[in-house]
Symmetry: C2
Subunit: 226 residues, 2 copies
Protein backbone atom coordinates (compact mmCIF):
# COMPACT_ATOMS: atom_id res chain seq x y z
CA UNK A 1 0.00 0.00 0.00
CA UNK A 2 1.32 3.44 -0.93
CA UNK A 3 2.15 5.86 1.85
CA UNK A 4 -0.26 8.63 0.69
CA UNK A 5 -3.06 6.03 0.67
CA UNK A 6 -2.15 4.93 4.22
CA UNK A 7 -2.16 8.54 5.42
CA UNK A 8 -5.59 9.04 3.86
CA UNK A 9 -6.99 5.88 5.52
CA UNK A 10 -5.59 6.96 8.90
CA UNK A 11 -6.98 10.49 8.54
CA UNK A 12 -10.46 9.13 7.81
CA UNK A 13 -10.43 6.86 10.89
CA UNK A 14 -9.29 9.71 13.14
CA UNK A 15 -11.89 12.09 11.76
CA UNK A 16 -14.66 9.59 12.44
CA UNK A 17 -13.31 9.06 15.96
CA UNK A 18 -13.25 12.80 16.63
CA UNK A 19 -16.91 13.15 15.69
CA UNK A 20 -17.93 10.42 18.12
CA UNK A 21 -15.62 11.84 20.81
CA UNK A 22 -17.21 15.28 20.49
CA UNK A 23 -20.67 13.73 20.88
CA UNK A 24 -19.46 11.83 23.95
CA UNK A 25 -17.86 14.93 25.51
CA UNK A 26 -21.14 16.84 25.14
CA UNK A 27 -22.99 13.96 26.73
CA UNK A 28 -20.54 13.69 29.63
CA UNK A 29 -20.75 17.44 30.19
CA UNK A 30 -24.55 17.46 30.25
CA UNK A 31 -24.52 14.54 32.69
CA UNK A 32 -22.07 16.39 34.95
CA UNK A 33 -19.62 13.50 35.05
CA UNK A 34 -15.87 14.10 35.19
CA UNK A 35 -14.26 11.63 32.77
CA UNK A 36 -10.63 10.75 33.39
CA UNK A 37 -8.64 8.48 31.12
CA UNK A 38 -5.44 6.72 32.12
CA UNK A 39 -2.79 5.81 29.55
CA UNK A 40 0.57 4.10 30.13
CA UNK A 41 2.86 1.22 29.25
CA UNK A 42 1.64 -2.25 30.25
CA UNK A 43 2.21 -2.79 33.94
CA UNK A 44 2.71 0.85 34.99
CA UNK A 45 0.03 0.40 37.63
CA UNK A 46 -3.23 1.77 36.18
CA UNK A 47 -5.49 -0.87 37.75
CA UNK A 48 -3.70 -0.79 41.10
CA UNK A 49 -4.10 2.97 41.20
CA UNK A 50 -7.80 2.69 40.33
CA UNK A 51 -8.35 0.14 43.10
CA UNK A 52 -7.08 2.72 45.56
CA UNK A 53 -8.99 5.67 44.05
CA UNK A 54 -12.27 3.71 43.90
CA UNK A 55 -11.86 2.90 47.59
CA UNK A 56 -11.00 6.44 48.68
CA UNK A 57 -13.15 8.64 46.43
CA UNK A 58 -15.89 6.02 46.39
CA UNK A 59 -16.78 6.92 49.97
CA UNK A 60 -18.22 10.31 49.01
CA UNK A 61 -18.59 10.10 45.24
CA UNK A 62 -20.35 7.92 42.71
CA UNK A 63 -17.73 6.33 40.45
CA UNK A 64 -17.80 4.07 37.40
CA UNK A 65 -14.96 2.61 35.38
CA UNK A 66 -14.27 1.23 31.92
CA UNK A 67 -11.17 -0.90 31.39
CA UNK A 68 -9.62 -1.76 28.05
CA UNK A 69 -7.52 -4.82 27.31
CA UNK A 70 -6.78 -6.98 24.30
CA UNK A 71 -7.91 -10.08 26.18
CA UNK A 72 -9.13 -11.19 29.64
CA UNK A 73 -11.61 -9.54 31.96
CA UNK A 74 -9.12 -9.61 34.85
CA UNK A 75 -9.03 -5.87 35.44
CA UNK A 76 -12.80 -5.47 35.48
CA UNK A 77 -13.00 -8.36 37.95
CA UNK A 78 -10.35 -6.68 40.14
CA UNK A 79 -12.21 -3.36 40.15
CA UNK A 80 -15.70 -4.79 40.51
CA UNK A 81 -14.73 -5.92 44.03
CA UNK A 82 -14.87 -2.26 45.06
CA UNK A 83 -18.58 -2.08 44.38
CA UNK A 84 -18.44 0.44 41.52
CA UNK A 85 -20.06 -0.26 38.14
CA UNK A 86 -17.27 -1.54 35.90
CA UNK A 87 -17.22 -2.69 32.28
CA UNK A 88 -14.41 -4.40 30.43
CA UNK A 89 -13.83 -3.53 26.78
CA UNK A 90 -11.81 -6.27 25.08
CA UNK A 91 -10.22 -4.95 21.91
CA UNK A 92 -8.90 -8.21 20.40
CA UNK A 93 -5.81 -7.14 18.46
CA UNK A 94 -6.55 -3.39 18.53
CA UNK A 95 -3.89 -1.49 20.48
CA UNK A 96 -6.11 1.27 21.91
CA UNK A 97 -9.66 2.19 22.86
CA UNK A 98 -11.60 4.43 20.50
CA UNK A 99 -14.58 6.71 21.06
CA UNK A 100 -17.05 4.25 19.52
CA UNK A 101 -16.01 1.51 21.95
CA UNK A 102 -16.56 3.93 24.83
CA UNK A 103 -19.90 5.07 23.46
CA UNK A 104 -21.11 1.48 23.18
CA UNK A 105 -19.87 0.63 26.67
CA UNK A 106 -21.73 3.50 28.39
CA UNK A 107 -24.89 3.04 26.29
CA UNK A 108 -26.88 1.33 29.04
CA UNK A 109 -25.59 3.53 31.88
CA UNK A 110 -27.38 6.60 33.19
CA UNK A 111 -24.37 8.89 33.26
CA UNK A 112 -26.13 11.40 35.51
CA UNK A 113 -25.72 8.85 38.30
CA UNK A 114 -21.93 9.25 38.32
CA UNK A 115 -19.55 11.94 39.55
CA UNK A 116 -16.48 10.31 38.01
CA UNK A 117 -15.97 7.90 35.13
CA UNK A 118 -12.49 6.44 34.83
CA UNK A 119 -11.35 4.96 31.54
CA UNK A 120 -8.31 2.71 31.71
CA UNK A 121 -6.87 2.38 28.22
CA UNK A 122 -4.97 -0.59 26.78
CA UNK A 123 -1.36 -0.61 28.04
CA UNK A 124 0.43 1.15 25.21
CA UNK A 125 2.52 4.33 24.95
CA UNK A 126 1.85 4.83 21.26
CA UNK A 127 -1.59 3.99 19.85
CA UNK A 128 -3.91 5.64 22.41
CA UNK A 129 -2.35 9.05 21.78
CA UNK A 130 -4.31 9.71 18.58
CA UNK A 131 -7.73 8.68 19.87
CA UNK A 132 -9.83 11.24 21.73
CA UNK A 133 -12.29 9.40 24.00
CA UNK A 134 -14.27 12.48 24.97
CA UNK A 135 -12.51 12.61 28.35
CA UNK A 136 -12.06 15.83 30.37
CA UNK A 137 -8.70 14.82 31.69
CA UNK A 138 -6.09 12.46 30.26
CA UNK A 139 -3.39 11.29 32.64
CA UNK A 140 -0.25 9.55 31.39
CA UNK A 141 1.32 7.23 33.97
CA UNK A 142 5.02 6.47 33.87
CA UNK A 143 6.46 4.02 36.39
CA UNK A 144 9.98 4.36 37.78
CA UNK A 145 11.20 0.95 36.46
CA UNK A 146 10.54 2.14 32.88
CA UNK A 147 13.39 4.65 33.07
CA UNK A 148 13.77 8.40 32.84
CA UNK A 149 13.84 8.61 29.04
CA UNK A 150 10.26 7.59 28.21
CA UNK A 151 8.88 11.11 27.57
CA UNK A 152 11.59 11.70 24.97
CA UNK A 153 11.03 8.36 23.27
CA UNK A 154 7.21 8.50 23.28
CA UNK A 155 6.57 12.25 22.99
CA UNK A 156 3.15 12.08 21.34
CA UNK A 157 1.38 10.44 24.25
CA UNK A 158 2.87 12.97 26.68
CA UNK A 159 1.81 15.76 24.35
CA UNK A 160 -1.82 14.64 24.29
CA UNK A 161 -2.02 14.24 28.10
CA UNK A 162 -3.21 16.88 30.57
CA UNK A 163 -1.16 15.59 33.50
CA UNK A 164 1.60 13.07 34.18
CA UNK A 165 1.67 10.70 37.12
CA UNK A 166 4.90 9.03 38.20
CA UNK A 167 4.05 5.65 39.78
CA UNK A 168 5.98 3.08 41.87
CA UNK A 169 7.78 5.88 43.66
CA UNK A 170 8.80 3.46 46.43
CA UNK A 171 11.25 1.80 43.98
CA UNK A 172 13.20 5.04 43.40
CA UNK A 173 16.09 4.12 45.68
CA UNK A 174 16.40 0.45 44.80
CA UNK A 175 16.44 1.36 41.09
CA UNK A 176 18.73 4.37 41.49
CA UNK A 177 16.02 6.21 39.60
CA UNK A 178 16.60 9.89 38.77
CA UNK A 179 13.21 11.51 39.40
CA UNK A 180 14.45 15.00 38.54
CA UNK A 181 15.66 13.79 35.15
CA UNK A 182 12.24 12.27 34.41
CA UNK A 183 10.43 15.48 35.40
CA UNK A 184 12.85 17.49 33.27
CA UNK A 185 12.16 15.21 30.29
CA UNK A 186 8.40 15.56 30.77
CA UNK A 187 8.75 19.35 30.84
CA UNK A 188 10.93 19.29 27.73
CA UNK A 189 8.19 17.51 25.81
CA UNK A 190 5.23 19.33 27.35
CA UNK A 191 6.27 22.47 29.22
CA UNK A 192 4.03 23.32 32.14
CA UNK A 193 2.24 19.98 32.40
CA UNK A 194 1.40 19.12 36.03
CA UNK A 195 3.45 16.17 37.30
CA UNK A 196 2.19 14.17 40.28
CA UNK A 197 3.97 11.31 42.03
CA UNK A 198 2.61 8.29 43.90
CA UNK A 199 3.41 4.97 45.40
CA UNK A 200 0.20 3.01 45.79
CA UNK A 201 2.11 0.50 47.89
CA UNK A 202 3.23 3.00 50.55
CA UNK A 203 0.42 5.50 50.00
CA UNK A 204 2.89 8.30 49.28
CA UNK A 205 1.33 11.06 47.16
CA UNK A 206 -2.13 9.43 47.00
CA UNK A 207 -3.88 12.22 48.92
CA UNK A 208 -2.35 14.88 46.66
CA UNK A 209 -3.38 12.93 43.57
CA UNK A 210 -6.97 12.52 44.78
CA UNK A 211 -7.14 16.20 45.73
CA UNK A 212 -5.99 17.01 42.20
CA UNK A 213 -8.86 14.94 40.76
CA UNK A 214 -11.41 16.56 43.08
CA UNK A 215 -10.16 20.03 42.22
CA UNK A 216 -10.46 19.30 38.52
CA UNK A 217 -14.02 18.12 39.08
CA UNK A 218 -14.97 21.34 40.86
CA UNK A 219 -13.52 23.28 37.90
CA UNK A 220 -15.78 21.27 35.63
CA UNK A 221 -18.85 22.04 37.77
CA UNK A 222 -18.22 25.76 37.58
CA UNK A 223 -17.62 25.73 33.81
CA UNK A 224 -20.35 27.29 31.64
CA UNK A 225 -22.66 24.84 29.90
CA UNK A 226 -21.77 24.42 26.24
Amino acid sequence: MSEPRMVEVRRKILKENDLVARRLRDRFHRAGVQVISLVSSPGAGKTTLLERVLTDLGRDHRIAALVGDLATENDAARLARFGAPVKQITTGTVCHLDATMVERAVETWTLEEFDFLFIENVGNLVCPSSFDLGENLRIVLVSTPEGEDKPLKYPTIFNTADAALVTKLDLTDVLGFDLDALIQNIQLVRPGMPVLKVSVRTGQGITEFEQFLLKRRSTLESAPTV
Copy 2:
Protein backbone atom coordinates in the same frame (compact mmCIF):
# COMPACT_ATOMS: atom_id res chain seq x y z
CA MET B 1 -14.66 3.51 7.87
CA SER B 2 -16.55 0.21 7.74
CA GLU B 3 -15.04 -2.76 9.54
CA PRO B 4 -14.78 -5.03 6.44
CA ARG B 5 -12.87 -2.24 4.66
CA MET B 6 -10.51 -1.87 7.64
CA VAL B 7 -9.87 -5.62 7.68
CA GLU B 8 -9.11 -5.51 3.96
CA VAL B 9 -6.66 -2.60 4.36
CA ARG B 10 -4.91 -4.37 7.22
CA ARG B 11 -4.67 -7.63 5.31
CA LYS B 12 -3.06 -5.88 2.34
CA ILE B 13 -0.43 -4.18 4.53
CA LEU B 14 0.43 -7.47 6.26
CA LYS B 15 0.68 -9.33 2.95
CA GLU B 16 3.11 -6.75 1.58
CA ASN B 17 5.14 -6.97 4.79
CA ASP B 18 5.31 -10.76 4.57
CA LEU B 19 6.71 -10.62 1.04
CA VAL B 20 9.51 -8.28 2.12
CA ALA B 21 10.14 -10.34 5.26
CA ARG B 22 10.52 -13.51 3.21
CA ARG B 23 13.04 -11.77 0.94
CA LEU B 24 14.93 -10.55 4.01
CA ARG B 25 14.95 -13.99 5.64
CA ASP B 26 16.44 -15.52 2.47
CA ARG B 27 19.08 -12.81 2.40
CA PHE B 28 19.94 -13.27 6.09
CA HIS B 29 20.19 -17.03 5.59
CA ARG B 30 22.50 -16.71 2.58
CA ALA B 31 24.69 -14.30 4.52
CA GLY B 32 24.88 -16.73 7.46
CA VAL B 33 23.74 -14.13 9.97
CA GLN B 34 21.56 -15.07 12.94
CA VAL B 35 18.89 -12.37 13.26
CA ILE B 36 17.31 -11.93 16.68
CA SER B 37 14.53 -9.48 17.37
CA LEU B 38 13.56 -8.22 20.81
CA VAL B 39 10.02 -7.11 21.61
CA SER B 40 8.63 -5.84 24.91
CA SER B 41 6.82 -3.05 26.76
CA PRO B 42 8.64 0.27 26.97
CA GLY B 43 11.32 0.11 29.65
CA ALA B 44 11.53 -3.68 30.00
CA GLY B 45 15.27 -3.49 29.43
CA LYS B 46 15.94 -4.28 25.77
CA THR B 47 18.76 -1.77 25.32
CA THR B 48 20.37 -2.59 28.67
CA LEU B 49 20.34 -6.28 27.73
CA LEU B 50 21.88 -5.52 24.34
CA GLU B 51 24.65 -3.46 25.94
CA ARG B 52 25.64 -6.54 27.91
CA VAL B 53 25.30 -8.98 25.00
CA LEU B 54 27.31 -6.75 22.64
CA THR B 55 30.08 -6.64 25.25
CA ASP B 56 30.14 -10.39 25.92
CA LEU B 57 29.41 -11.95 22.53
CA GLY B 58 31.25 -9.13 20.78
CA ARG B 59 34.56 -10.58 21.98
CA ASP B 60 34.35 -13.60 19.67
CA HIS B 61 31.58 -12.69 17.26
CA ARG B 62 30.77 -9.94 14.78
CA ILE B 63 27.58 -8.21 15.84
CA ALA B 64 25.38 -5.46 14.43
CA ALA B 65 22.20 -3.91 15.79
CA LEU B 66 19.14 -2.01 14.60
CA VAL B 67 17.08 -0.11 17.14
CA GLY B 68 13.56 1.17 16.61
CA ASP B 69 12.00 4.13 18.41
CA LEU B 70 9.34 6.71 17.65
CA ALA B 71 11.79 9.52 18.37
CA THR B 72 15.38 10.10 19.57
CA GLU B 73 18.57 8.28 18.62
CA ASN B 74 19.40 7.63 22.29
CA ASP B 75 19.48 3.85 22.05
CA ALA B 76 21.72 3.80 18.98
CA ALA B 77 24.08 6.20 20.75
CA ARG B 78 24.11 3.94 23.84
CA LEU B 79 24.90 0.85 21.78
CA ALA B 80 27.41 2.50 19.44
CA ARG B 81 29.74 2.90 22.44
CA PHE B 82 30.32 -0.86 22.28
CA GLY B 83 31.97 -0.60 18.88
CA ALA B 84 29.37 -2.57 16.92
CA PRO B 85 27.70 -1.14 13.79
CA VAL B 86 24.36 0.25 14.98
CA LYS B 87 21.55 2.02 13.14
CA GLN B 88 18.55 3.76 14.61
CA ILE B 89 15.21 3.52 12.84
CA THR B 90 12.90 6.32 13.95
CA THR B 91 9.31 5.45 13.15
CA GLY B 92 7.59 8.78 13.91
CA THR B 93 4.12 7.81 15.06
CA VAL B 94 4.28 4.18 13.87
CA CYS B 95 4.07 1.74 16.79
CA HIS B 96 6.29 -1.02 15.36
CA LEU B 97 9.08 -1.78 12.89
CA ASP B 98 8.15 -3.38 9.60
CA ALA B 99 10.17 -5.45 7.14
CA THR B 100 10.63 -2.55 4.71
CA MET B 101 12.19 -0.38 7.43
CA VAL B 102 14.61 -3.22 8.22
CA GLU B 103 15.40 -3.79 4.55
CA ARG B 104 16.22 -0.11 4.06
CA ALA B 105 18.34 0.00 7.20
CA VAL B 106 20.56 -2.96 6.21
CA GLU B 107 20.81 -1.88 2.57
CA THR B 108 24.35 -0.50 2.85
CA TRP B 109 25.65 -3.26 5.12
CA THR B 110 27.49 -6.36 3.91
CA LEU B 111 25.56 -8.87 5.97
CA GLU B 112 28.17 -11.58 5.41
CA GLU B 113 30.40 -9.62 7.78
CA PHE B 114 28.11 -10.33 10.75
CA ASP B 115 27.43 -13.40 12.90
CA PHE B 116 24.52 -11.80 14.74
CA LEU B 117 22.14 -8.98 13.91
CA PHE B 118 19.96 -7.80 16.78
CA ILE B 119 16.77 -5.86 16.05
CA GLU B 120 15.30 -3.94 18.97
CA ASN B 121 11.68 -3.15 18.18
CA VAL B 122 9.67 -0.15 19.39
CA GLY B 123 8.53 -0.69 23.00
CA ASN B 124 5.05 -2.06 22.51
CA LEU B 125 3.31 -5.31 23.47
CA VAL B 126 0.72 -5.11 20.72
CA CYS B 127 1.69 -3.71 17.32
CA PRO B 128 4.98 -5.58 16.64
CA SER B 129 3.24 -8.95 16.91
CA SER B 130 1.81 -8.87 13.39
CA PHE B 131 4.97 -7.78 11.58
CA ASP B 132 7.47 -10.43 10.53
CA LEU B 133 10.92 -8.81 10.19
CA GLY B 134 12.61 -11.83 8.62
CA GLU B 135 14.24 -12.70 11.94
CA ASN B 136 15.28 -16.26 12.91
CA LEU B 137 14.43 -15.79 16.54
CA ARG B 138 11.96 -13.46 18.21
CA ILE B 139 12.34 -12.97 21.94
CA VAL B 140 9.64 -11.32 24.03
CA LEU B 141 10.97 -9.65 27.18
CA VAL B 142 8.76 -9.22 30.22
CA SER B 143 10.13 -7.39 33.25
CA THR B 144 9.13 -8.27 36.80
CA PRO B 145 7.64 -4.82 37.62
CA GLU B 146 5.08 -5.29 34.83
CA GLY B 147 3.33 -8.04 36.77
CA GLU B 148 2.56 -11.72 36.28
CA ASP B 149 -0.53 -11.24 34.10
CA LYS B 150 1.01 -9.77 30.96
CA PRO B 151 1.02 -12.99 28.86
CA LEU B 152 -2.73 -13.37 29.42
CA LYS B 153 -3.46 -9.73 28.59
CA TYR B 154 -1.20 -9.53 25.53
CA PRO B 155 -1.37 -13.10 24.19
CA THR B 156 -0.64 -12.35 20.54
CA ILE B 157 2.88 -11.08 21.08
CA PHE B 158 3.71 -14.12 23.22
CA ASN B 159 2.24 -16.36 20.54
CA THR B 160 4.46 -14.92 17.81
CA ALA B 161 7.65 -15.18 19.90
CA ASP B 162 10.09 -18.10 19.92
CA ALA B 163 11.32 -17.53 23.46
CA ALA B 164 10.44 -15.43 26.50
CA LEU B 165 12.97 -13.64 28.67
CA VAL B 166 12.06 -12.47 32.16
CA THR B 167 14.13 -9.36 32.99
CA LYS B 168 14.89 -7.38 36.19
CA LEU B 169 15.00 -10.61 38.16
CA ASP B 170 16.82 -8.80 41.00
CA LEU B 171 13.56 -6.98 41.83
CA THR B 172 11.65 -10.23 42.48
CA ASP B 173 11.84 -9.99 46.27
CA VAL B 174 11.27 -6.25 46.66
CA LEU B 175 8.21 -6.51 44.40
CA GLY B 176 6.90 -9.72 45.93
CA PHE B 177 6.82 -10.96 42.34
CA ASP B 178 5.49 -14.46 41.69
CA LEU B 179 7.85 -15.86 39.06
CA ASP B 180 6.12 -19.24 38.95
CA ALA B 181 2.80 -17.57 38.16
CA LEU B 182 4.38 -15.64 35.28
CA ILE B 183 5.95 -18.79 33.84
CA GLN B 184 2.64 -20.61 34.18
CA ASN B 185 0.86 -17.79 32.33
CA ILE B 186 3.45 -17.88 29.53
CA GLN B 187 2.97 -21.64 29.20
CA LEU B 188 -0.81 -21.23 29.16
CA VAL B 189 -0.55 -18.89 26.18
CA ARG B 190 2.27 -20.68 24.37
CA PRO B 191 2.86 -24.18 25.73
CA GLY B 192 6.46 -25.35 25.46
CA MET B 193 8.03 -21.95 24.77
CA PRO B 194 11.50 -21.66 26.35
CA VAL B 195 11.55 -19.18 29.23
CA LEU B 196 14.88 -17.64 30.29
CA LYS B 197 15.48 -15.31 33.21
CA VAL B 198 18.04 -12.56 33.72
CA SER B 199 19.06 -9.63 35.81
CA VAL B 200 21.46 -7.51 33.82
CA ARG B 201 22.23 -5.57 36.98
CA THR B 202 23.47 -8.58 38.97
CA GLY B 203 24.48 -10.71 35.98
CA GLN B 204 22.18 -13.54 37.04
CA GLY B 205 21.17 -15.73 34.09
CA ILE B 206 23.23 -13.80 31.52
CA THR B 207 25.56 -16.72 30.74
CA GLU B 208 22.61 -19.06 30.21
CA PHE B 209 20.93 -16.51 27.94
CA GLU B 210 24.05 -16.00 25.84
CA GLN B 211 24.58 -19.77 25.60
CA PHE B 212 21.01 -20.04 24.35
CA LEU B 213 21.74 -17.49 21.59
CA LEU B 214 24.99 -19.27 20.60
CA LYS B 215 23.26 -22.64 20.50
CA ARG B 216 20.53 -21.24 18.26
CA ARG B 217 23.21 -19.87 15.96
CA SER B 218 24.92 -23.24 15.66
CA THR B 219 21.54 -24.77 14.76
CA LEU B 220 21.26 -22.18 12.01
CA GLU B 221 24.71 -23.03 10.65
CA SER B 222 23.88 -26.70 10.37
CA ALA B 223 20.52 -26.07 8.68
CA PRO B 224 20.29 -26.97 4.97
CA THR B 225 20.49 -24.06 2.54
CA VAL B 226 17.06 -23.06 1.26
